[in-house]
Each structure stands twice: as structure tokens, then as C-alpha cells.
Subunit: 238 residues, 2 copies
């Protein structure tokens, strides 16, 4: 396995290009994290103003995706990266798609917040939104941290968290479906909460995907579509 050697090229322009791509990915990650946090707050506090802000900021996230992909294409065309440099470009290119989709899901939550501010609050589900919301928000922070530090172990932890989020999501869904059957007049409002939980569950999936790219980047192994146990074994390999 080749060692990680970003930023140790004889060409300082190459170093700068790779460094710039990493920085832009981290910047996009920070913005997307803020979108998730704001969308959750907008939903939990029935804050239409904040929800509107999330919807308006989505365009900026989209622009960052396009810009980073352009940077990656330029490096591929001009610099012919190999080994861990090439894996960095590939991992970034996959990760920006996931970040953009997390941005999308945040916008969906913001749209639900607007609906609920208009229709009136849902009688149930906010506890679950807060709980699962905090969980996936931490996963997103950890997965970005793992990318920044090339920390494959932390990336495996994020993947393991995703399994927990999926269980929490299914349990919340069961409770909310039962509640809707008891109080059908609330169906439309409860559904807004259900869509938001679904969006949060998807954000967890995308955080896991980004973690898988970190492992690919650091270890050179594609760990998509395997179990957490197998993933751990791959990461423990010297």
C-alpha cells in the first residue's frame, strides 16, 4: 500500500491544487452541516424565516458541488494524479454528490417546516425528530472530521452509527403510524414529520457513504456494500 503523501509533491502547484480541493470540500461540508442544523431548528421551533433561509442557501451548496467537480476534472486532465492523490480526487468527487444530497434533504425538511408552520404543529413526533436529528448531525460532523484527518477508524464508527439510526427511524415510524390510526385528522401534519424523519434517515446514509470514501482514500479498499464487521477487518489490515 502506498503511503499517504498529499502535499509532498515536487510540484508546488500540484500540492496547492490538491490542498484547494480538500479545503473546498471541507467548506462545502461546513455549509451543509449548517443547513442540517438550521433545517432541524426551523422544524422544531416552527421558524418559517429560518426555513426560508435554508431553501435560499441550497443554491450555494449546488454551486459548490459544481465548482469542486470542476477542480477535480482540471487536476485529472492536467496533473495525472496517481495512487493516493488519485484516490483523493475520486473520493472527493463521490463525497460532493453525497454532500449535495444532504443539502437536498435539508431543503426537504425546511419545506416541511414551512408546511407545519402553515397547517399548525403535528401533535406527535418532535421528540423523535430531535433525537434522530442530533444523531445524524453528529454522524455528519464525524464523517467530515474523518475526511479532514484521514481517519479510517472514525469512518467505520460512522457506518456503525448508521445502523442505529435505521433502527431508531423504524421504531419512530411504527409509533407515528399507530398514532395516525388513532387520530386520522392529524394524518397530514404527522406525515410532514414522517417525511422529515425519512430525510434525516437519508442524511445518515449519505454520512455513511462519505465515511466509506474516507476508508477507500486511506486504505485503498472499496468497502461499499459490505457489513460493518467486514469493514472493520479491512480497516485493521496493516
Amino acid at each position: 500500500m502506498d503511503r499517504m503523501h498529499f502535499g509532498q509533491h515536487s510540484s508546488s502547484q500540484f500540492n496547492e491544487a490538491l490542498e484547494s480541493i480538500r479545503n473546498h470540500l471541507m467548506e462545502m461540508g461546513g455549509l451543509v452541516e449548517k443547513q442540517v442544523v438550521d433545517a432541524l431548528e426551523a422544524l422544531l421551533r416552527a421558524d418559517s424565516g429560518l426555513a426560508e433561509k435554508v431553501l435560499q442557501t441550497e443554491e450555494k451548496v449546488d454551486q459548490q458541488e459544481i465548482q469542486i467537480d470542476e477542480e477535480c476534472a482540471r487536476v485529472l486532465a492536467l496533473r495525472h494524479p496517481a495512487a493516493s492523490d488519485l484516490r483523493l480526487i475520486i473520493a472527493v468527487s463521490k463525497a460532493v454528490s453525497d454532500l449535495e444530497r444532504i443539502g437536498d434533504e435539508s431543503a426537504k425538511i425546511a419545506a416541511m417546516a414551512l408546511q407545519l408552520a402553515e397547517e399548525g404543529e403535528s401533535p406527535r413526533g418532535y421528540v423523535e425528530v430531535r433525537h434522530i436529528g442530533n444523531h445524524v448531525r453528529n454522524m455528519l460532523r464525524d464523517t467530515l472530521d474523518a475526511f479532514a484527518r484521514f481517519d479510517a477508524d472514525k469512518a467505520v464508527e460512522v457506518a456503525a452509527e448508521d445502523t442505529e439510526v435505521d433502527m431508531e427511524y423504524r421504531s419512530a415510524m411504527r409509533a407515528l403510524v399507530t398514532f395516525m390510526m388513532e387520530d386520522p385528522r392529524a394524518i397530514s401534519r404527522v406525515l410532514n414529520i414522517i417525511w422529515s424523519l425519512r430525510a434525516l434517515e437519508r442524511i445518515g446514509d449519505h454520512a455513511r457513504n462519505i465515511g466509506e470514501q474516507v476508508i477507500f482514500l486511506v486504505k485503498g479498499t472499496d468497502v461499499r456494500h459490505i457489513s460493518i464487521d467486514q469493514m472493520e477487518k479491512e480497516v485493521k489490515k496493516p
Copy 2:
């Protein structure tokens, strides 16, 4: 704009590598199309056996994603593709992610088919599933066709179809929510239909995404996150 010149390299090995990647993408596309069709049939005919088959085939889709990404990485590392060759690799690398996710959504529909076969049919929603299902299935076929023929005009058509699917989806959702309020005992079964419609709507999004990669490949322009009108203008440019 450089002309499309796949398969016209002095190196026949390079030609073969690009040709192989294209063929594998088309093969994966064919398999994923079959997954969508089978998942729909399983749902509409309450066919548990077919639903199980879709779930079992998902692994094969996942393996194809990994294999095609490996091929792309190899070409990037060894062949240093430029211009339209590089765009082909980038477009394929993005498109496989979308195809894999279409596979995921098909598996979700198959899981809903199993649930409905167990709980008993939903009293509503099959007409909508059949209609929207046929629509996104055609979109997927057209977007793969556009990729095979480097047909940017057809890719724009797929994007325009996606807007229609979104409208059909919203209209179906409204009808089903109203129905659930009238017959709360059916909520759980109707929700399985709602999740299936959601999955179909997502498949439409992914078909559109693949179409955007076709336009990037053919025209060299990133048309993500712009309107259909703008997209048409970009494609009309000489």
C-alpha cells in the same frame, strides 16, 4: 469544443478499455432497468417470489458499481484520459452511483411488495403506481439510450419528463392522504403504496441525473441545478 472521438485512439488498448467501460455501464443499466420492471410487477401482482428475486439481485447491481468504478480508476491511473475521454470517465463514474441508487429504490419497492403480500392489498393507489411506474421506466430506458448514443437532445427530454413525474407524484400523494383520512384502518397498507411512489419519484430524479451526465459528456457543460429552458439552450449551442 473537442469532437467526440471515443474509440479513435492510436492505442488500441486504450480504445478497448473505454469501450469495455461503456459496455459495462450499459450492462448495469440493463440489469437495473429489469430490477425496476420486476419490482413494479411484484407490487402490482402481489408476487412475493418476484419481489424476493429483486432483493436477491441487488447484490449483483452493487458488484457492478464497484467493478465499473475500479475500471474507471484504472484508466485514470494508467491512461491519463483528456477531453471527451476524461468526460466519459467522469460521466460514467457519476452515472453508476445513480444506477446503484435506482437499484436501491427498486429493492425498496420489492420490500413494500412483500409487506403488501403479507398484510393484504392496499385499497387504493395501484393505478398511480402503474402510471408513474411506466413513466419512470420509460425515462430510465431513454436516459440509457441517450448515454449509448451520446444523444444530448434526448437527455433534455428526460429532464423535462422528470418535472411531469414530480407533478403526477404530488397529485397521487394528495389523493392517497385524503383517502387515508377517510379510511384510517387502511393507513398502514396505503403507506406501503406511498413509499413505493416515493421510490418511483426518486428513480425519475436519478434518470434525470444520468441525462445531465450525458449532456456534460457530449457538450462539455455542467447542466446540473439549472432549469429545463437553460438546459435546452446549452444543448442547442453549436
